[in-house]
């Protein structure tokens, strides 16, 4: 069916001819699931007048924890907490765990809440080989959204052992490629390279150039070898890196060292805010142990085109932090609010740490974290290399994106917020001096066009003819937060799924985005028995076939 969306204020940074034309109204034409060029003649089968609404491609979140073992543990741990809203007040006398004001939700509500904000694709960034089935099962039960996941590598005993004994490039590539194929992943992530494994041997810190007590390998070695393998295998997405020393005062130095370890190859630093602290300072220096490293990191990114990052913005209120970085979460357990946590070693691959967190604007460190995220977003020049995330739910829930967009687009609102945070953090931040306001086009870049490009989603993130008809309309409201908080219309593959901020259908087809790197099975063969020795199961039992993935997806609700 041919549909014409009329009177659209089209914001699409992928079409250079539209640059600067955001005040003009035009039409977008759709034929079934795709955007098409306006027909030379003839009328549409259906017209939809959007009345001058802002129209963008469907939003894409490249880093959000919405499925898998850690997420489910967080649901369990927070079941008696999320019945309250993020300010801690009971919203209902009954014990509900699915209220939109919470911080972690069941799969169905994840899909619905993202759709209401105009998002159509989300990516789970921490999938372990042995838990890949769990992750895909949850993603299949997340309605509306296209999904994908990044397989976590860089702490497996078999990998570190091999790196320590100088495994050759071909064999390493075969392991990376096999892991991606076996788990049906889209990309590769490394979490605290070597550091999670070191923690299992009670080595509680691992600096970038420090040797692992058991395997001799350093985090720099892991980053250098894996960035090379990922590049050589031709992945669209660079190695997705959760750097060493997350949350530690002064970690900006190890973050920059981690980026250097890529030796000029493409590297993506994830939830950078948590790895962007200056210090450590003594109380006599500034009164607090840490400050902002945003200026340093931004300068580095601006000078190194091989580097991209997503922010991991902190949002004040109740949330729960979940990470494979068990050592970091072991440290964070001291700050758990409410006072409970879950830590676990997991299957010779990584760890698991779930720690509830209440970010307070009266707390110096939390306020500092809030300023650092915004500083990064405002100091990095190229919007194609910085991505809007809260590292849901670690910095805060993804439902705070509209608020975050307002902070970026509205300088006076941002400055007014500075009066509400801890005074020492407000006094030290660069935010007061930063006048930059994001344009609509830049918002479209950091929330859809750039994520599509860096993930290799060639038919998403754009409103050009030939692309998928994932289209959102936002009616102008009193402020940008209200505008982006509720889509007036969302089409997914051309199917209407949201109207006036309410989900009206789950019927749109979903896709699982995967990568298919080639590898030589002869190179992989020796790994197979090694993996079986560590896991006590045949390596082949970890492989999710295409048929099985289809069965998982088809069984989704």
């Amino acid at each position: 069916m041919l549909v014409e969306l009329q009177n659209c204020r089209v914001i699409d940074p992928t079409q250079p001819q539209l640059k600067g034309a955001s005040s003009l109204l035009s039409s977008i034409w759709i034929n079934d699931a795709h955007i098409v060029a306006p027909p030379n003649s003839g009328a549409a089968d259906r017209n939809e007048d959007l009345g001058g609404a802002i129209v963008m491609a469907g939003g894409i979140d490249l880093h959000t924890h919405i499925g898998g073992g850690k997420v489910n543990l967080a649901r369990m741990l927070m079941a008696d907490v999320v019945g309250r809203n993020r300010a801690g007040k009971n919203h209902d006398s009954r014990e509900s765990v699915t209220h939109p004001t919470g911080c972690i939700w069941p799969t169905t509500l994840n899909g619905q809440l993202y759709a209401r904000m105009g998002y159509t694709a989300c990516f789970e960034p921490a999938m372990m080989l042995t838990q890949a089935r769990h992750t895909h099962l949850e993603l299949a039960d997340t309605p509306i959204l296209d999904t994908g996941a990044y397989v976590v590598l860089g702490n497996e005993d078999w990998l570190l052992q091999a790196l320590g004994s100088g495994v050759d490039d071909a064999r390493l590539r075969s392991l990376v490629a096999w892991s991606v194929n076996a788990s049906q992943a889209l990309a590769v992530k490394v979490v605290n390279p070597g550091g999670i494994n070191a923690f299992k041997f009670n080595q509680r810190a691992l600096a970038v150039d420090q040797s692992h007590a058991k395997y001799g390998v350093t985090p720099r070695d892991v980053i250098r070898r894996l960035t090379a393998a990922v590049d050589d295998l031709g992945f669209a997405h660079p190695l997705h890196v959760h750097a060493s020393n997350l949350g530690v005062p002064g970690n900006i130095e190890s973050t920059l060292a981690t980026l250097d370890a890529a030796e000029g190859r493409r590297i993506h630093l994830t939830h950078a805010q948590f790895n962007c602290y200056s210090g450590p300072f003594s109380k006599e220096d500034i009164g607090y142990a840490m400050g902002s490293g945003a200026a340093q990191l931004s300068r580095y990114v601006n000078e190194h085109p091989n580097v991209t990052l997503d922010v991991g913005q902190v949002i004040f209120g109740q949330t729960v932090t979940i990470s494979a970085d068990e050592g970091a979460q072991f440290r964070n357990r001291e700050h758990a609010t409410p006072n409970k946590f879950f830590l676990s070693d997991v299957e010779c691959q990584a760890g698991c740490g779930v720690v509830p967190m209440l970010y307070s604007d009266k707390h110096y460190v939390h306020s500092l974290q809030w300023t650092i995220g915004l500083e990064l977003l405002l100091l990095i020049d190229d919007p194609w290399r910085v991505f809007l995330t809260t590292d849901h739910p670690n910095g805060g829930p993804f439902t705070s994106y509209p608020h975050l967009i307002r902070l970026l687009m509205d300088r006076s609102f941002r400055h007014s917020m500075l009066t509400t945070i801890h005074p020492q953090a407000a006094a030290r931040t660069l935010l007061r001096e930063l006048d930059r306001e994001y344009t609509l086009e830049e918002i479209a870049i950091i929330t859809r066009a750039a994520p599509a490009r860096i993930l290799g989603l060639h038919d998403c993130g754009s409103l050009a003819p030939g692309k998928r008809a994932d289209i959102v309309a936002y009616r102008a409201q009193a402020d940008w937060e209200a505008t982006f908080g509720s889509a007036s219309l969302l089409l997914k593959n051309g199917v209407e799924v949201v109207r006036n901020g309410e989900v009206v259908s789950h019927a749109a087809a979903k896709r699982t985005h995967i990568a298919r790197p080639d590898f030589d099975s002869a190179d992989f063969a020796p790994w197979s028995s090694t993996i079986e020795q560590w896991l006590q199961v045949p390596a082949s039992s970890l492989c999710i076939s295409n048929d099985e993935l289809a069965e998982i997806s088809a069984g989704g609700l």
Binding site: G67, V71, N72, R75, M76, L77, A79, V82, R94, E95, S96, V97, T98, H99, P100, I104, P106, T107, T108, L109, Q112, R116, T130, Q131, R133, H134, L137, D141, D157, K200, F201, N202, F330, R333, N339, K340, F341, F342, L343, S344, D345, V346, E347, C348, E502, V503, V504, S505, H506, W534, L535, Q536, V537, P538, S541, I544, I552, G555, G556, L557
Partner: protein, 412 residues
């Protein structure tokens, strides 16, 4: 229509074994040494009879699922749990995953404290000292020690210390080829006291700990080993804890783990032998956000606090109809509930029982391992026309929809 099939002369060789927490892959050669599995294979090959589809569906014809119905998941795969959630949402029925006292105790502590956990492969890879508490963990999982206490990757083998509840069973507790390095007899009634003593002593400086008795395995020997090992794992069968107050036993083990984790590594590994229960719990949690029990009320899922700690009798009294689901091959008996309809993997012998396809034999399904460390795909090895539990539940949903119960899809 396919007639009744008897499998007495066929080999029931499933892709994975679901009888205990380990979920052994049939390609592992040591699976042939599992005494529990071999006993089950012998019994099921005699008793296993498959009915045809029409015969199976008959008892379902009178069942109307509504708000007075309790859907009790005893053991099932992911797809069946998904179908049960859909049915509960469609009809307003309450869905509940059966809990033992022990599993309730562990979850209560886990969700309200700080927990130090691990998974099975980590035990083999890194543990220096493994402490097994109670005999269930060995009798229920005969291959546990063979698979996970004999390291194929460590230079030195882990030390294994077993604490038995029954003196007579200490020597015969394990059917495995490897034996504990140390054994201790703690009557079940003394576990809390013994663990309390251990927890208290571990918090003392080493110089103030009790003097060791050499050449004899005692609590003080265990204390010494715990204090000197760099990586300790406590393992027990989740169903070995029988009383509500046993939550205190779990808390004492957690206290020990917490103390040891200040300077070394110590983790707790409660194994759930009912992998269908683990699977149902995980699935219910991601679909509803509710641990254990969920009810859809108008626009969202709720977990009513009043059901917390309910006994089987209380559950029976609270609902006029019970739909019981258990579709994994199993040698466990079903919970003693007055079920209106039971969807089960074994042949129906009573009114209201319906035989459905067994996961991993007549139908495929995804199953969590008993430590939740991984998910297996149990492929159908002998596909059959017998309906699956998921199909049955979907049929009930369709019937409810046709009867005019609209499903609400938006939680706004």
């Amino acid at each position: 229509m396919q007639g009744p099939v008897h499998l007495s002369d066929q080999r029931l060789d499933s892709s994975v074994c679901t009888l205990c927490a380990l979920v052994c892959d049939s390609r592992l050669s040591l699976i042939n040494h599992c005494t529990r599995r071999n006993r089950w294979l012998n019994s099921v090959s005699v008793n296993h009879r498959l009915v045809d589809r029409g015969e199976a569906l008959e008892p379902l014809s009178d069942l109307v699922v509504d708000t007075e119905t309790l859907i009790w998941l005893d053991a099932c795969d992911v797809q069946t749990a998904r179908a049960a959630v859909t049915l509960a949402k469609q009809t307003g029925a309450t869905i509940h995953v059966g809990q033992s006292t022990g599993s309730h105790a562990v979850k209560s502590v886990m969700s309200n404290s700080g927990w130090f956990g691990t998974t099975l492969s980590e035990v083999a890879a890194r543990a220096q000292l493994i402490v097994t508490l109670g005999d269930g963990v060995l009798t229920e999982s005969p291959l546990l020690a063979e698979r996970f206490f004999r390291s194929r990757t460590q230079v030195s083998q882990p030390q294994w210390f077993h604490i038995s509840a029954h003196e007579s069973s200490v020597s015969s507790a394990s059917e495995s080829q490897i034996a504990p390095n140390g054994r201790l007899h703690w009557p079940y009634a003394t576990w809390f006291e013994q663990l309390s003593n251990l927890a208290r002593n571990i918090q003392q400086p080493v110089s103030q700990q009790p003097e060791l008795v050499t050449n004899e395995y005692t609590s003080s020997e265990l204390l010494a080993r715990l204090s000197s090992a760099e990586h300790v794992v406590w393992i027990w069968d989740i169903d070995d804890l029988h009383f509500g107050t046993d939550e205190l036993i779990v808390r004492r083990m957690l206290s020990i783990a917490s103390s040891l984790s200040e300077t070394g590594r110590c983790s707790l590994l409660p194994l759930d032998m009912n992998v269908g229960r683990v699977t149902a719990e995980e699935t219910l949690l991601w679909l509803t956000g509710c641990p254990g029990t969920a009810c859809w009320q108008g626009d969202r899922w709720y977990r009513s606090p009043r059901y917390s700690g309910y006994s089987l009798d209380q559950w029976s009294d609270a609902f006029s109809k019970i739909l019981l689901v258990s579709n994994l091959p199993s040698d466990r008996s079903l919970p003693n509930l007055p079920a209106t309809v039971t969807l089960q993997s074994r042949p129906a012998v009573r009114q209201g029982e319906i035989q459905v396809a067994s996961v991993g034999i007549e139908c495929s399904g995804h199953l969590f391992r008993g430590d939740r460390g991984t998910v297996h795909f149990a492929q159908a090895t002998q596909p059959h026309n017998l309906p699956s539990a998921a199909q049955m539940l979907t049929l009930l949903s369709q019937r409810a929809r046709a009867a005019g119960t609209p499903e609400v899809t938006d939680a706004s």
